[in-house]
Structure formats: structure tokens, C-alpha cells
């Protein structure tokens, strides 16, 4: 039974830090993609037109009812077959972004539905067009409600980026696996990356809490806090 030895971890700190950086990159990329997708999908799912609802529901249900890992493999091995050559990081951003977009769209949709009908009446009574009402009243108030659940979906997604290790994206998890194969110190290496993930998620949830307080909660309690029934990716 050998004792704990972190020397190899420190010697290879650059590899792990680089992994952390790529984890961050995939997270931000997926976040942006996920939000860009989620907003129109949320509107489509709330639409009265079946033509808009059907494809958006198909997308949401597919990504929420199949494993993220399988989705990742599908894009990593599937895209080249279609002649699209990709790199692992880009594939990870696409797959994880699409996955988180499905969850985000449900959160945003619930946010949109939570906006008091009276506010929409008031906006129309003040002479706003449907578009103005949406931009100036519905979206900001939906966002206030959706912000907290969105930030928790995001943090879950950051942890989910570790699945990208299995398609050779050299993010934090993958770096740890490779390193553990070279120097046989799995306990030290994996406990170190726990710290790395925690640093990342604690920082993000701190930023989210700070932003929530200063942008939203400071201005008083909301009438319609979103019920926590909205799912979260994992």
C-alpha cells in the first residue's frame, strides 16, 4: 500500500490546466449554442401552429429522452460518415449545445408561460404591437423567472462536458484519464480534477447568484416564481 503522492500531478499541472481551459471552452460554446437554439424552440413549442410545434417537440423530446453520451457518439462518428470532418471539441460543443438547448428551451418556455396575462394586456393597452410586447415585456419577465433554473441547467451541463472525454476531446476529464494511464496515481489525479470541477462550478454559481441578486432579486420578490418541475440535464 503506497502513500499518497501528488508530485506527478504537480509536474503535469499544465496538462490538467489546459484540460480545464478546454472544459471551459466547451461549456461556454455549448451555453451559447444552447441559448441560441432554446429561445426560438421555446416560442415554437408554445405556438398554436402544429407545423412549428411538431419539429420543436421532436427535437426537445429526442434530446431529453436519449443519453447524452449516445448523442455525442452519434455526432462524433456520424458526421464524418456524412463527409463532415470535425474536431472533437467542435463535436462536443454541437452535441452538448443541442442537448442543453432542449432543456433550456423547456425552462424558457415555462418562463414565457409564467408571464402574467395582465402584463401583456397592459402592454397592448399602451399601444404596443405584439412584437414590442414580446421584446419589452414578455421576454424580460420570462427571463427573470427563468434565470435561476437556467443557471442550474448550465452548471449541470458543465459537469456533463466530461462525457466529451469519450470522444477524444482533451478536456479536463480526458486529460485526467490520459495522465492516469501514464503515471499510475488515479486517486491523486481524480481527486485533483474534482477540485478543478468544483472550482469551475462554484465560480459559475457565484456569478449566477451575484447576477440574479443585482439584476433581479434586488428589485423585489417575483409574483410567479417558476416551479421546480422543470427538468435539468445531467
Amino acid at each position: 500500500m503506497s502513500s499518497l503522492y501528488f508530485g506527478d500531478v504537480f509536474k503535469n499541472a499544465d496538462v490538467l490546466l489546459r484540460g480545464l481551459g478546454i472544459t471551459f471552452l466547451i461549456s461556454v460554446g455549448s451555453l451559447v449554442l444552447g441559448l441560441i437554439i432554446a429561445l426560438p424552440v421555446a416560442f415554437m413549442r408554445n405556438s398554436r401552429s402544429g407545423l412549428l410545434r411538431f419539429p420543436s417537440s421532436l427535437y426537445v423530446e429526442f434530446f431529453r429522452n436519449t443519453p447524452l453520451l449516445a448523442q455525442l457518439f452519434f455526432f462524433f462518428y456520424g458526421l464524418p460518415e456524412l463527409g463532415i470532418n470535425t474536431n472533437a471539441i467542435v463535436v462536443a460543443i454541437i452535441a452538448i449545445g443541442l442537448n442543453t438547448g432542449a432543456y433550456n428551451s423547456e425552462v424558457i418556455r415555462a418562463g414565457l408561460l409564467s408571464v402574467d396575462k395582465g402584463l401583456i394586456d397592459a402592454s397592448y393597452a399602451l399601444g404596443m404591437s405584439p412584437l414590442q410586447s414580446t421584446v419589452y415585456v414578455v421576454l424580460p419577465n420570462a427571463f427573470r423567472v427563468a434565470f435561476k433554473p437556467l443557471s442550474s441547467t448550465f452548471i449541470n451541463m458543465v459537469l456533463g462536458t466530461s462525457t466529451a472525454a469519450s470522444v477524444t476531446a482533451n478536456e479536463l476529464m480526458n486529460s485526467a484519464v490520459v495522465l492516469a494511464g501514464n503515471v499510475f496515481r488515479p486517486f491523486e489525479i481524480y481527486s485533483t480534477i474534482f477540485v478543478g470541477y468544483c472550482l469551475l462550478t462554484f465560480t459559475l454559481s457565484f456569478i449566477a447568484k451575484f447576477a440574479d441578486y443585482h439584476l433581479i432579486s434586488k428589485h423585489g420578490k417575483m409574483k410567479n416564481a417558476l416551479k421546480s418541475s422543470v427538468g435539468v440535464s445531467g
Binding site: 393597452a125 399601444g127 419589452y136 427573470r144 423585489g220
Partner: protein, 239 residues
């Protein structure tokens, strides 16, 4: 020409006829709409500014028909509306609530919109709350902001839907005081209210709605002395 011309209007929700063939002209004066709960008072106001579509007849606001969708924004600029539940935008502070539409819809410059907003907030006694958010205000204060917000669009007519029903008596008095001073300035108001003594004091004309029909339409004095079973029963009930 009447400011609001309601011609043979029928409004249904599904099979439920809520306004039944109403014909009515409203002029530059203060009218109160009274009637039991569920009789269609809110619906009538909401039909006037096109928040609810009508199935039959027509409503002309300043000569413009609510039946043409593209007229609705113009009609809504003519008619300001204040709601029972205030409906302030919770994401915006008081001054932003009041200036949003003047800036975005009337195209006013921020500075002049804010100047106007300040004078309106002074009028409703809330200038010192300009930078507060709705959730930081009492119900009565929120309703006074909502009145300022409606006035900021310089409407010709103010539609008031039970604006004191969600308030306790003290706050009700504050809001009524403001409405009374607006009345004194000659603002045209059409108000649905359960504040009978206020309606009696301020309005020139009373419309009594019962089950979607105009059961009485007369000058205020006449209304309170009329010998009508339904009206007497209603007045006893609310008074």
C-alpha cells in the same frame, strides 16, 4: 360625434353571450359603469380598446373602428386603460414603467419623456418613488403609478376597470382623490366601479349593466332616485 360609438355589439366567449346587442354613445364626460359581478363590465371596456374582439356590431373610437386590426394601436393610443390588478411591469422601475411606451411608441426623446413622467408622478404624489420597482411599492402606490403610466400617452379617454377593488380603504381614498382631481381637470373617464358614492359624486352619467345588457342609462341624479327594483336591489347590495 361621440367619442365612443357602440353599435349593436354582441360579444361571446364560446357559447356564452357576455354582451348582448349593446348600443350606446359615450361623450366627453365622466361615465360610471355599474352592475353586478359577471355582468360584462370589464368585457365592455376591453372591447372598446380591442383587447377582446367582438362578434357582431361595431365600436368606433374617435370615428375609428375596432374591427380593423390595424386600427387597434391607434385606438389604444386614444384610450388609456387602468386595470384592477395594476399590471405594472415588474422588471422596470417606476420611471421606466411610465416612459416605456412614450419612448418606444410615440418616439419621444428620453429626456422629454422623463420630464413628462416626473410631472405625472408629482401629480400622483409619487415623485420620490421614481427609482423604485413595483414590488417595492404598496398596492395603492402601484395603482397611482399605473394611472401615471396611462396618462403618459396623453390619451383622450381613460378607461378605468375597478381600479380600487384590489386596495384597502386607505389606499382606495388616495387613488380616488387622484381620479377626482383628474375629473376636475376635464379628463374624459369611463369607469367601472363599485365605489357607489364616488361614482355619484364624480360622474355625470351612470350606465347600469345587467347580464350583458344596458339595464339603465341616465344622468347620475336620476339614477339614484329612479324607482327600479333591479337598481334598488343592486344599490342595497353594494352600498
Amino acid at each position: 360625434m361621440a367619442v365612443i360609438d357602440i353599435k349593436n355589439v354582441t360579444k361571446k366567449f364560446g357559447d356564452n353571450t357576455v354582451l348582448n346587442n349593446i348600443t350606446l354613445e359615450l361623450n366627453d364626460e365622466i361615465s360610471a359603469i355599474l352592475g353586478p359581478s359577471g355582468s360584462g363590465k370589464s368585457t365592455m371596456l376591453r372591447c372598446i380598446n380591442g383587447l377582446e374582439p367582438i362578434q357582431q356590431g361595431d365600436i368606433l373610437v374617435d370615428g375609428v373602428s375596432v374591427k380593423t386590426r390595424s386600427n387597434l394601436r391607434r385606438i389604444r393610443k386614444t384610450c388609456g386603460m387602468v386595470f384592477q390588478q395594476f399590471n405594472l411591469f415588474p422588471n422596470l422601475d417606476v420611471i421606466q414603467n411610465v416612459t416605456l411606451s412614450p419612448i418606444k411608441i410615440l418616439g419621444q426623446k428620453r429626456a422629454s419623456a422623463e420630464k413628462h413622467a416626473h410631472s405625472l408622478l408629482e401629480k400622483v404624489g409619487l415623485l420620490e418613488k421614481a427609482r423604485h420597482y413595483p414590488a417595492q411599492l404598496s398596492g395603492g402606490q402601484q395603482q397611482r403609478v399605473a394611472i401615471a403610466r396611462a396618462l403618459a400617452m396623453n390619451p383622450k379617454i381613460l378607461l378605468l376597470d375597478e381600479v380600487t377593488s384590489a386596495l384597502d380603504p386607505e389606499m382606495t381614498a388616495d387613488v380616488l382623490k387622484i381620479l377626482e382631481s383628474l375629473a376636475g381637470e376635464g379628463t374624459t373617464m369611463i369607469m367601472v366601479t363599485h365605489e357607489i358614492s364616488f361614482a355619484r359624486r364624480v360622474s355625470k352619467r351612470i350606465l347600469f349593466i345587467d347580464q350583458g345588457s344596458i339595464a339603465a342609462d341616465m344622468p347620475t341624479d336620476a339614477f339614484f332616485s329612479v324607482d327600479d327594483q333591479r337598481i334598488q336591489k343592486f344599490l342595497q347590495h353594494v352600498g
